[in-house]
Amino acid sequence: MTWSRDALAGKIPVTLVTGFLGSGKTTLISKLLLHPDMRRVAVVINEMGEIGIDHDLVTVSSENITLLANGCICCSVRTDLQETLRDLFAQRRVGEVFDFDRVIVETTGLADPAPVVQTLASDTLLAAHYRLDGLITLVDGLHGVGQIDQQTEAVKQIAIADKVLVTKTDLTTADHLETLCGRIRQLNSQSPIEFIRQGEVDPKSLIDLGLSSSRASLKTLQFLGEALNDAAVADVNGTGRYLGQRSATHNSTVKTLSLRFTEPFEWLSFSSALELLTTLRGPDLLRLKGIVNVDGDPVVIQGVQHIIDTPVKMDRWPSDDKDSRLVFIVRNMELDVIRNLFQAVGAIKSTSLSAT
């Protein structure tokens, strides 16, 4: 008679769209709002006035929420994002707004997306009803290289992205784009890069980036990323071609580090090690994704800086590989330091037979 609920499946996915000032967010959002495939999507924007949608308004259900002709809900942030997302859910719950299936949030230009991630993870109402599906970062095809060189925020936005959209590709040369992609790859070796022009993007390419179910499937592996399976295999002895080595040429402060542990963890020791790491080096821990063997069970971990999402215990292993595998995107940290930390703390078991 028993079967357990899927901890994630019922939550409304939220996609965050971020990007440096002038990278083309407003253009992208304006196009997206009118796309025919945006039915049942709620888009949270900063400023209604910037977006030319006056001709497509159908109804205004409250001062900041508008239904468009294509069935998309456009919602401007009133006080803050937290309040706006709470309000949207409450209105959906009683039928005052359309029952949207997902949310896309435009973050403000300079904004660090981490606080938005924190809002989703720490507000109990939001955490119960929404889940972060993905971070999309827009990179200016014309000025991107310069921004990466000069702006630490731009570096961070790229490093933590689940997908990178390079804009204004019609205004630049193929050589320049190749250089830019090289720089993006150095900061973020795993996430797909897509070229767009004039803000034209298929809404389908912005969704299903995150973990959507605690029932293991092929999609779980896709979410976890190839790096977890490929690069890390050779890393068992610490001598492999871990991805960190690739980043050494330029901007060497940001690296992707892959770790693999064959010995299962106890939850207490794993979480203690992670907590220690986030406490001491949270700002430099840009992104973390992984699957951890906790006493034999698969547990998916993800985090942005010091915010670690609620770990998700999967119903089974998505493949035969039952090693713990973690991918970190870090700033100014070395692989050995992290590996040694997890190995040392992992070796301390909370229940030791030798003591008795």
Partner: protein, 415 residues
């Protein structure tokens, strides 16, 4: 150009949380369905969903739901006249039992029909068991899950109630020979039959007096000597039926008064010592609100204790949305091979508040985890959806039906 701002919940809007519509079938224009849903697995591997209609002229419909995204109506039958309704049915193997209730006493036919549906396109009548009488409207609801006994809410030719509202009581019919059904047991609320020694039970205020009648009469293989009865204004009654000729009361629990009566279903969760008890809303526009689903601790049969209610859908959004608003049928963990069974996940139909899914893992703090409220069906006299009954199959596909025109909605739970 802007339209006027929308104020509150609109009946034409579909609402959903964690549920997705796979298909909608209007049943050839006869989309008013009762509270009988059963699923048959045919010998050639098809899944046939059998649906009892709420009122004449249609009797029952069979819908092939093997592919839940592509349901096909394969048979739809007629009642002999307009003063009859079928309302309830159950299927075991290839045997289907259908209830018949007349609009007033004294009308024939009234009782149950037993069909062989081994060829689902052409149901074959095996027998009719007559329950008509000068004080009887016939059968309102049947429970048939073991292939042998039909437990039902029925009148009888020899039963004269003291109050005409109390005409249907608990009867057990043995159909081991489906061509020769025989009554093997009965029980009625003491004091409701003319000539009873017990005094008549005190009635609810006139506007809520819906009778001391049986509604659902559930018996499960986990505990075949117990019948779990929703006795309408008589509350929840559990009977010891180990001797069907001498049925005894083991539990009684009634929230009314002070509540407004109409206990509909008593669903036991055997492994957990709980009953999930649903009311039925029977008045429009929230006039008999609140109609709830209750959690009752039944570990001590002699002393059932209510420990909570399911979080009700918001009154402000639904009470005036059109038609009835409140609890009604639950998916009842039927024992057959095609039924979803869970001792934690409970699915119910709530008229204009749609179909709703609850997690009772913590019985003191039940959570609503999914719902689907279809937009108002075309031509519905209620002006809003009125989901009347729900069935969940072993694939966790949810089938729910409208009381007036909407027909069948097939949904997927994403929980």
């Amino acid at each position: 150009m802007l339209n006027a701002p929308q104020s509150a919940s609109r009946a034409d809007q579909t609402l959903s949380l964690n549920m997705k519509l796979l298909a909608h079938h209007e049943l050839a224009g006869f989309g008013g369905l009762g509270e009988g849903i059963g699923m048959q697995l045919t010998s050639d591997g098809r899944r046939i969903l059998w649906l009892a209609h709420e009122s004449a002229p249609k009797n029952f419909s069979g819908v092939d739901v093997t592919d839940p995204q592509n349901p096909k109506l394969i048979v739809q039958t007629e009642l002999p006249h307009m003063k009859l309704r079928s309302n309830s049915l159950d299927v075991v193997g290839n045997i289907m039992v259908v209830a018949y209730q007349a609009t007033t006493v004294g009308i024939k036919p009234a009782g149950i029909d037993i069909f062989d549906v081994s060829q689902p396109e052409t149901p074959r009548l095996l027998s009719h068991f007559d329950c008509s009488g000068p004080y009887s409207r016939g059968v309102h609801a049947v429970w048939f899950v073991d292939g042998r006994y039909v437990h039902m809410s029925s009148g009888a030719s020899d039963f004269q109630p003291r109050n005409p509202l109390d005409d249907q009581f608990y009867r057990i019919i043995d159909i081991i020979d489906p061509e020769k059904p025989v009554e093997v047991g009965r029980w009625w609320y003491p004091g409701t039959r003319e000539g009873d020694e017990a005094p008549p039970p005190p009635r609810l205020p006139a506007q809520f007096d819906t009778g001391f009648r049986t509604h659902n009469t559930n018996v499960f293989p986990e505990q075949p000597n117990r019948a779990f009865i929703g006795y309408i204004d008589g509350g929840a009654v559990v009977l010891d039926i180990s001797d069907m000729k001498n049925i005894k009361v083991v539990s009684q629990w009634n929230h009314s008064p002070p509540f407004n009566g109409f206990t509909h279903t008593v669903l036991p969760l055997f492994d957990r010592g709980l009953w999930i008890v649903s009311d039925e809303c029977v008045q429009d526009n929230g006039a008999d609100w609140p109609k709830l689903v209750w959690v009752v601790d039944s570990r001590n049969e002699a002393n059932p204790v209510p420990i909570g209610t399911f979080p009700a859908p918001p009154y402000d959004a639904f009470a005036k949305r059109g038609g009835r608003f409140g609890a009604h049928n639950l998916h009842e963990n039927l024992p057959g091979p095609t039924s979803f069974r869970s001792d934690t996940i409970i699915v119910g139909s709530f008229f204009n508040a749609g179909v709703r899914v609850y997690d009772t893992s913590n019985p003191y703090q039940v959570q609503e985890i999914a719902y689907f409220v279809p937009g108002a069906p075309k031509l519905s006299p209620a002006g809003a959806i009125q989901l009347n009954d729900v069935y969940v199959d072993d694939r966790r596909i949810v089938y729910t039906v409208d009381r007036f025109t909407g027909g069948l909605y097939i949904l997927e739970m994403n929980i």
